[in-house]
């Protein structure tokens, strides 16, 4: 079978004909993505018996559509009520939620959906066009390189600390300490678990996420009548479709920003073992570092919302590449897909594209079509979804707490995880009240254990020689980029201030 433009056009039309699977999967995916604790992987497992009796193509399209939609759905509660239901959405509320507080919820959702759609479409197209090349990324991104990639994300702590150095660093350090709880990577010796079995596998992410962000926020907002400012409430009440259109327009104007942050997601997604959380934080950090207005990040800045949402949707195409091209699942959802494909007798790896090109390329085309259909189905809903924020905090706070506690329980079904989420909620509340940034704690909790894992492998490979971290050409390029991204923004800002000062003196 010849792989040319006509082949892809046929494939596109064929994927479009599967709308009857894709559209219901989109709605299901949006729902499970929006519920904290649920994820595409969980849902696919629960629905596995149904998937196995479907035709293999239909089953795979169902899983792919569910996966993409759940990624987009996770952004909805992260923006509206500060509940990132998955680690991949952890960076989304940093600027999404402040927008909501200003009464721009509808606009924020429209930006998020548009950025996710464009990011998803672009990375899927890039994946289709350059799959063999992208599959090679994992051959170069080894533990040394991944240590530096992690540092891109972790350096956000320093950025946050810039506002109040001591408090920012204390919060980040606390997060890293909490992240080191669990058994060690080499000898599986428990550390800091206090003998609590539920902590042997490390701090579970969902309770930490919802506790630090959502429950602490619920404690805070109950002190007022609404999560919105008075001006914000008026703005939302009188809002029209224009806010949605404005969100779409503003995102389209920043297409380049969407493009490069989603490509960060694609590259990180292609690396086996790396995931959406890393991609979102790295994209956010890079977006801020290269921005002309870094001081606006964290206050409801459009680019601060675009970056993590584009990146975490870029990851979805990325994680499927090592699975399909090399036979190595790039993440949890891909691992479940592998089970289904093996059960259905599908050979993954290079043979898939030679023996069953319709299926191999069809999976990515189904992803492309899913994003197209998703844009049509979800964008009109942004206006109604944003109305959630008008609910009085008298009802909203208990709802958030109840909802998130259940979400904490779902992934592992431990009562302990509910208590843990509540404990993190109290920690987050105290941190907010005393001026410590919960995002700095969370970055440590999420990225700390990943960083430790990569660092240990790198050091073990070199018999403990720290210089190994500077032994790879690609790693050294990444070190340079990291240094530049940290040093250049303050340097440029300093220069800008000096110029302004000289100009003002000249005028005076």
């Amino acid at each position: 079978m010849e792989i040319n433009a006509a082949f892809f056009v046929d494939l596109f039309l064929h994927s479009l004909s599967l709308w009857w699977v894709i559209v219901p999967s989109i709605f299901l995916g949006l729902i499970v993505g929006a519920i904290p604790g649920f994820s595409a992987a969980n849902t696919i497992i629960v629905l596995l018996p149904f998937t196995l009796i479907m035709e293999v193509e239909v089953g795979l399209v169902f899983m792919v559509a569910l996966y993409c939609a759940s990624r987009m759905g996770a952004g909805i509660p992260a923006i509206l009520v500060n509940i990132p239901g998955t680690a991949g959405a952890a960076a989304t509320p940093l600027d999404g939620y402040p927008m909501v507080k200003k009464g721009q919820g509808q606009r924020a959702l429209a930006i998020s959906f548009t950025a996710s759609t464009i990011g998803g479409l672009l990375t899927t197209a890039v994946a289709l066009a350059s799959m063999p090349i992208l599959a090679r990324v994992g051959f170069y991104m080894h533990s040394v390189e991944m240590v530096v990639v992690m540092l891109f994300g972790i350096s956000l702590i320093a950025t946050i600390a810039a506002k109040d150095t001591l408090k920012g660093l204390i919060a980040g350090f606390l997060g890293l300490m909490i992240g080191s709880i669990g058994t060690d990577h080499v000898y599986a010796t428990p550390r800091g678990t206090f003998g609590i079995l539920e902590l042997y596998d490390g701090i579970p992410l969902i309770p930490a996420l919802v506790g630090l962000f959502a429950i602490s926020e619920a404690f805070l907002v109950i002190e007022g009548e609404s999560i919105l400012s008075r001006h914000g409430r008026e703005r939302l009440k009188t809002g029209s479709w224009l806010q949605t259109i404005d969100g779409i327009k503003i995102t389209l104007k920043k297409w380049w920003h969407v493009a490069w942050t989603s490509l960060i997601g694609l590259v990180i997604g292609v690396t086996p073992g790396a995931g959406a959380a890393i991609a979102a934080f790295v994209a956010y950090q890079q977006s801020r570092a290269l921005s002309k207005t870094p001081e606006l990040y964290g206050t409801g800045h459009v680019e601060g919302l675009i970056a993590p949402e584009s990146a975490n949707n870029g990851v979805t195409a990325g994680t499927l590449i090592p699975l399909l091209v090399l036979g190595i699942p790039g993440g949890a959802t891909a691992a479940i897909m592998l089970v289904v494909m093996q059960y259905q007798g599908v050979n993954v790896g290079p043979r898939l594209f030679a023996e069953q090109p319709l299926l191999g390329y069809g999976i990515f085309m189904a992803m492309f079509v899913t994003y197209l259909l998703m844009a049509l189905t979800i964008l009109p809903m942004s206006r109604y979804m944003s109305r959630v924020t008008l609910v009085s905090t008298t009802y909203m706070s208990p709802l958030i707490i109840g909802f998130t506690l259940i979400g904490s329980f779902v992934p592992r079904e431990y009562m302990f995880d509910m208590y843990l989420a509540f404990a993190f909620g109290i920690l987050g509340y105290i941190a907010r009240k005393t001026g410590y940034h919960v995002a700095a704690i969370l970055i440590g909790v999420i990225l700390g254990p990943l960083m430790e894992g990569y660092m240990l492998v790198a050091l073990q490979k070199s018999d403990g020689d720290f210089l190994t971290l500077f032994s790879s050409p690609l790693g050294n390029v990444l070190w340079l980029a990291l240094a530049l991204s940290l040093v250049l923004p303050p340097f440029m800002k300093h220069r800008q201030r000096r110029r302004k000062g000289v100009f003002a003196e000249g005028e005076g």
Partner: protein, 342 residues
């Protein structure tokens, strides 16, 4: 991540076949349950919980799914796996022993190789004789493999390279029979190796494929499932029963004239000893229906459909499992300094 689910077969269904199947299942199920109740007072009264001490999507998940898809027919109940990964399998065992009632309605599906070695590294909070492996499903030997693009093409290349420099060897965890096989190879050939735990089979395969490590060691079933992405160079068993699926790699004993015992992982069902003592009739029913699965042609079909290896399917009862557990404890004691870093 813990996700209860109900295992199911994979037959495609139409409305008519579904009705036929349902009617047949009702008749068969009814008759089976009559026999069951006569035999073990209505056991099982509910679904059987299966604790799996690893993540879903791996080899244990695949094996369990293939086995229970057929076993449920003979035991006339469904199985609900819960995945409790962490601390090299320790979490799953602690959860099973600490949180599940010893009433024979819950089982653990473990890997007798690496998970028994764990107890040598650090004793669990329970007495290791308080659970009993009683139903072996397979025996899967460890093997040494490289990525398809590795410049190490043969085991001789590995030995030659290992004499020039220390080789980085990926393994799913230190306390693993395949890791011990690798150490035995290093002892025999005088090569230097650095065993690097990569946390799980998928990452161990990825490590070899992408060149993160020079080579990896793992259970051969998982390696064979990786297909063309990897090349197997040595098998730690008396015979390479998978042949071409493992690139016709030689065994260590054949190639180096050693008498290394097979370095096997072996998946088996375990149960609380208290459940055996208090409910011998239930345990007998579990055992008898378990045995029937191996004689059922549907099981072979189920294994092959899941890309498993029928050659590794190997029935074992209480006695065989007990011997295996003891052998692993002895092996662990021998390599304890290495496993504990002491």
């Amino acid at each position: 991540m813990i996700t209860p689910q109900i295992c199911s077969g994979t037959r495609r269904v139409s409305r008519r076949s579904l009705l036929k199947f349902g009617a047949a299942a009702a008749v068969l199920g009814g008759s089976a349950s009559v026999v069951s109740r006569a035999f073990a007072a209505g056991f099982p009264e509910r679904n059987i919980d299966i604790v799996v001490p690893t993540r879903e999507g791996g080899g244990a998940d695949r094996n369990l799914r293939a086995f229970t898809a057929v076993w449920k027919k003979h035991l006339d109940t469904n199985f609900e796996p819960g995945f409790y990964p962490g601390a090299s399998g320790r979490v799953g065992y602690e959860v099973y022993m600490g949180k599940f009632e010893p009433d024979a309605h819950s089982l653990i599906f473990g890997n007798m190789g690496p998970e028994v070695l764990n107890w040598v590294v650090k004793e669990p909070s329970f007495n290791i004789d308080d659970y009993v492996y009683w139903g072996r499903v397979d025996t899967d030997p460890g093997c040494l493999f490289v990525g398809a693009e590795s410049k190490l093409k043969t085991i001789e290349d590995v030995v030659a390279e290992g004499k020039k420099r220390k080789l980085n060897v990926g393994t799913s965890r230190l306390a693993h029979p395949a890791s011990i096989g690798m150490l035995a190879l290093a002892d025999k050939t005088g090569i230097e190796v650095n065993l690097i735990p990569l946390s799980g089979g998928k990452k161990t395969v990825a490590g070899a494929v992408t060149g993160e490590v020079d080579l990896s060691v793992l259970t051969s079933g998982t390696v064979a499932a990786a297909g063309d992405a990897v090349r197997t160079l040595l098998v730690f068993n008396d015979e390479n029963v998978l042949g071409e699926a493992l690139d016709s790699a030689p065994t260590m004993n054949q190639h180096f004239g050693t008498d290394l015992p097979p370095m096997l992982s072996s998946r088996a069902f375990g149960i609380h000893k208290a459940a055996i003592d208090n409910h011998p009739d239930r345990f007998e029913m579990l055992q008898s229906t378990f045995r029937k699965v191996f004689e059922d042609p549907d099981y072979k079909a189920s294994v092959l459909k899941g890309k498993g290896h029928w050659e590794y399917v190997n029935y074992g009862g209480v006695e065989e499992c007990g011997k295996f557990k003891q052998a692993m404890l002895s092996l662990g004691a021998q390599y304890k300094p290495f496993l504990t870093g002491g």
